[in-house]
Amino acid sequence: MPDAPDLPVLTFRRGLVGFDGPQRFHLVRWGGDDSPFSVLQSLDDPDLAFVVVPPQVFFADYEPEIDDEAAAQLGVSSAEDLLLLVIVHLADDPRDATANLLGPLVVNTRSLEGTQAVLSPERWPSRRPLAAAAVAA
């Protein structure tokens, strides 16, 4: 992972689900100039990273409802200040890649604070295949 000291630092005070404790991340574009993907690289644990993508790139129907509590926790008053990302799970075969629509990452672009929202599993799966919405060029 290249050094990128000029990148903004995103702070997840509660970490992510299953990764407790505060985590700070760099968000690094990844995969070429036309890639929608980024890598969320932990600054507190060099071994921890996640591939993320703005969900609308692959899932036009994805309209998560971020509850008031999560928004209030982030201090977000306007949807314009929200950056929504979903975590991508890469498998050995690119056709098996999935996106986690159950627990999107929500970032306040003003304060750079983020949290992982927890949505309804009846509506949004934690492993929705990217394949149906993707082409391997």
């Binding site: 993907f37 996640f50 509590e69 799970h89 927890v118 990217l130």
Partner: protein, 82 residues
């Protein structure tokens, strides 16, 4: 494990600022109300476990897996789509 018996509309208090109230008991279902500070996250266990497992599975992809990102792109909109 502490075991307490409660009836509908009875509560337990945890740590002074969390109150769990049994709202309704019907058959094998129990409706529970939880009053907790915003700093405390409350989730159904199975959802939390699923999300925790998904996060752990996706964490720290190998360099080989990251190579896939050079080729993985959204499909162009199907004909007829706006």
């Amino acid at each position: 494990v502490l075991v307490l018996t409660r009836r509908a509309n009875q509560s337990i208090v945890i740590g002074g600022d969390i109150t769990v109230t049994v709202l309704e008991v019907r058959g094998d279902q129990v409706r529970i109300g939880i009053d907790a500070p915003k700093s405390v996250t409350v989730h159904r266990e199975e959802v939390w476990v699923e999300l925790s497992q998904a996060n752990k599975a996706a964490a720290s992809p190998t360099p080989e897996a990251l190579e896939q990102l050079k080729d993985l792109r959204p499909a162009p909109p199907a004909e007829g789509d706006s």
